[in-house]
Symmetry: C2
Subunit: 393 residues, 2 copies
C-alpha cells in the first residue's frame, strides 16, 4: 500500500549523528562523533543503590502506578532548588515540568508555540536535532550570526525585525556544537531584545555543570525580566542519558501549556527514572560532578593540545566546559566528503555543515572529547591531522 | 507578555480524566473514574528483583548510556515473540518500535500521518485521549457507529467514502470506554474495507491480556492482508503504567517513519524501563496475568451485579475483560451535570459524553472496576444508583 504520510515527514530523516552511530560499532574506531557522557563515569553503583532503596520502600507503589503529567510534586520541589544554582529564583513547582530528557522539552515548546510556516531563530551553527524538530513542525529555522562572546546582537535584532520569529533557541553555555559560552553581557542583551520584541526564548542547558575552567555565568533566564524565557536542562550528562529525565522551567502559563502538550505525547515521564534522579541530585550529584570534571578536563586538554600539534590549520573554539570543540578547516577541505576517508582510518567526527540552519560550514568539524581516553584522543587526532593534511594543496 | 501559542493548542485542555483525578484525592471517595490497574496487583517484588539483577550485572552500562530510538534489539526480539500471542506472525525486529507507553504510539502515528484538516475515523464512543491528540494535530475526528459486534461496517464504508480519512483508530478488544470486543467476523470486514480504500488502521490493544470470560480473538492486524495496520500495545496494565513502555508493530516502512518521529520527540524510551519489561515478559508475565485475572473478574462481577441490582435503569455493556463497563442512563439524566453530586456522595465516574467525537452521549457513563474492591464497588454503585434514581421522574 502506498501510504500518504504527513507533509512534515517528507523531509524528515534520521539525524546524521544517530545514523553515523550505527556505523561506528567497530571496536577499533576512535569516535569523536557522538555526544555521549563518558561510559566509565556513569554512576552504576549509586543508581543501583538508589533503585534498590526505592523499590523496597514506600515509594514502590507510586513508582509502578500512573503518575501525573507534571511529574512528582516532591521531585519538582527538588528541581526548584536545583535551578537556583543557575540563578533562577523566586519560582515554585508550578513553574516546573518534568520532561523525558531535554529533547522532549524542545519538542513540547515547538508543539505549544509553532504553526506551520513560523520562524525560529537559532545560533548559526546550532544543535542538529533542533533543525530536525523544527522541520517536523513545518517551521523555518533562520540562523543568527555569532562570535566568541555569544550571539551577534545587531544581527539578532535585524533578524527579529525581518522574520518576526516566535522563538529563539540557544545553548548559551558550552554550546552544541561550538562548545563556547555566551558572556554575561551578551545574555543580558539577548534578554533585553527578545523581551522588547516579544520573542520567546528557549534556553537549552544540558552541559552547564561540566565547567573545567573560567568563571561560571548564570542562566540567560536569570537575566530575563519578562516571563519570556523557558529554561530546560537534562540529567543526561550528569546522571544518565538512558533514564531520560530533564526539566523545563518557565512562566506558569506556558508551563501549563507544555504540560497539556506532554499529556498527549507520553502521559508522563517514567516514575522510576524521576525518583532515581531526584535521589541522585539530592545525595550524589555534587560528588559525581567533582569526580567527572578532572576526567573531562584532561580529555579536553588532550584534544586541544593534539589539535594544535597535529592540525595547526584547524581554526578552533576554546571551550571552558561541555563536550565539544568546533572549528574550521581550510576552505578547500569538505568535511562531509572526507568523513568516509576518516572512518577508513578508524576515526570519526561530525561534519559541521549539518549544524547550519542556512547552509554553509562545509569546511567545519565538530569533535567530541568526552567519551575517549586522552591516549585515544592523541592517536585519533594525529590520524585525522595527517589525513586532512594530505588533502591540503 | 502575551504569548502567541500555536493554533493547535487553542482548544487543547487537560483531559477530563486527568483533571478529575486531581479532585479525587480525598480517601473516602470511591472512584470508578480512572483507568488504573489495581494498585495491590502491581508487581513490586518482581520489579525490585529484576532491577537489582539488571543494575548489578553486565547490563548496567548500556542501561545508563544513550540507546537507539528503535529500542534495544534484544527487547524487540522478545516483542516479536510476544505479539505472536495475538496472531501477529512472520515479522522481525524491523517491524517493531519500542514506545514510551501506548499514548506515545498514538501521538507518533498522528505525527507521521496527519496534516492539518485530515480526518480520522474513530469508534463512537472512543478513547478520550485520542480526541485530544487529534486536536493537537489539527485533525478532525469523525465517529463511526458501533454495535455489540464491533463497528457498523456499512457506516464505516459510508464514512470512508464521505470523509476520505487517512486513519481509523480502534480499540477492538475490551474497548475504552465500552469494554466490548469486536467479533472475528467484524475484524475481518474492517481489515477488508480499510485495505480496499487504502485507510491506515491504528489498532490499540492495551487490555487484551485481561480476559475473564469468553473466547479470545486474534488482533485485527492479524487479519489485515495489506501492510495497512499498525498494532500498539502497552505494558501499563500488566506490568506497570509508571514505567511507560509499549510497542508499535507494523510494516517496515511506517515503523521507520515512526522511529524518525520518535527520535525528535524523546530520543528513546528509558533503557531501564525497557529491560525491566523485557525480563518481566520473559519470566513473570504468565503468572502475573494468571494471578490478576480472578481479582479483576471478581470486580467486574461485583460491578455488573451491583449495576443490575441498584441501577436497573442503566443499559450497560457486558465486558468479557478489560477495565470498563459503559452504559446509558434514561435520557432525562445528564451524567456530566450529576457528577459533582456524585462526588458529594463520595462516588466518582466519567461522564460518557467526553468519549463522543461528534457530541452526544450526555446520558452515558463509563465505570472502571479495576481499582476498587468488590465491597467498595457494591457500596459505590448503591450510592450512585440511589442518587440517579432520585433524579428520575
Amino acid at each position: 500500500m502506498n501510504i500518504r504520510y504527513a507533509e512534515r515527514t517528507a523531509d524528515l530523516n534520521g539525524t546524521a549523528t544517530r545514523e553515523i552511530f550505527k556505523l561506528l560499532s567497530r571496536p577499533e574506531i576512535i569516535s569523536f562523533a557522538g555526544g555521549l557522557p563518558a561510559s566509565d563515569l556513569l554512576p552504576e553503583k549509586e543508581v543501583a543503590e538508589i533503585t534498590e532503596s526505592l523499590l523496597s520502600g514506600k515509594d514502590a507503589k507510586r513508582i509502578l502506578q500512573y503518575g501525573t503529567s507534571e511529574g512528582f510534586a516532591d521531585f519538582r520541589e527538588t528541581l526548584v532548588g536545583y535551578v537556583k544554582q543557575v540563578g533562577i529564583d523566586g519560582i515554585d513547582t508550578d513553574n516546573t515540568l518534568v520532561i523525558s530528557g531535554g529533547q522532549q522539552g524542545i519538542d513540547l515548546m515547538c508543539k505549544a508555540l509553532l504553526d506551520k510556516g513560523d520562524t525560529v531563530l537559532v545560533e548559526q551553527p546550532t544543535y542538529l536535532a533542533v533543525l530536525q524538530i523544527l522541520k517536523s513542525y513545518e517551521a523555518k529555522a533562520v540562523g543568527v550570526n555569532a562570535n566568541a562572546d555569544g550571539l551577534d546582537i545587531d544581527d539578532l535584532e535585524k533578524k527579529i525585525i525581518a522574520h518576526k520569529p516566535k522563538m529563539l533557541y540557544v545553548v548559551p553555555t558550552f554550546s552544541n556544537p561550538t562548545g563556547k559560552t555566551y558572556s554575561r553581557a551578551n545574555r543580558e542583551k539577548i534578554a533585553e531584545i527578545t523581551a522588547k520584541y516579544g520573542v520567546i526564548v528557549l534556553e537549552d542547558d544540558p552541559y552547564g555543570k561540566l565547567r573545567f575552567s573560567g568563571e561560571s555565568v548564570n542562566s540567560l533566564k536569570s537575566f530575563a525580566a519578562e516571563d519570556n524565557t523557558v529554561y530546560i536542562t537534562s540529567f543526561s550528562k550528569l546522571v544518565s542519558p538512558g533514564l531520560r529525565v530533564g526539566v523545563a522551567v518557565g512562566g506558569k502559563e506556558i508551563i501549563r501549556k507544555l504540560t497539556v502538550c506532554k499529556q498527549g505525547t507520553d502521559l508522563h515521564t517514567s516514575n522510576l527514572s524521576q525518583l532515581i534522579v531526584k535521589r541522585f541530585v539530592e545525595e550524589y550529584l555534587g560528588e559525581t560532578v567533582k569526580r567527572s570534571i578532572p576526567v573531562y578536563r584532561k580529555r579536553r586538554d588532550a584534544m586541544t593540545a593534539a589539535l594544535d600539534r597535529y592540525m595547526p590549520f584547524f581554526d578552533r573554539t576554546d571551550p571552558e566546559g561541555g563536550l565539544f570543540v568546533f572549528g574550521s578547516l581550510p576552505v578547500s577541505l569538505n568535511a562531509e566528503k572526507l568523513l568516509p576517508k576518516a572512518i577508513e582510518h578508524n576515526v570519526a567526527y561530525i561534519q559541521g555543515s549539518v549544524f547550519f540552519a542556512d547552509g554553509g560550514g562545509e569546511n567545519t568539524v565538530r569533535l567530541n572529547y568526552s567519551n575517549a581516553s586522552a591516549e585515544q584522543i592523541e592517536q585519533g587526532i594525529r590520524a585525522l591531522g595527517s589525513l586532512f593534511a594530505s588533502y591540503l594543496t
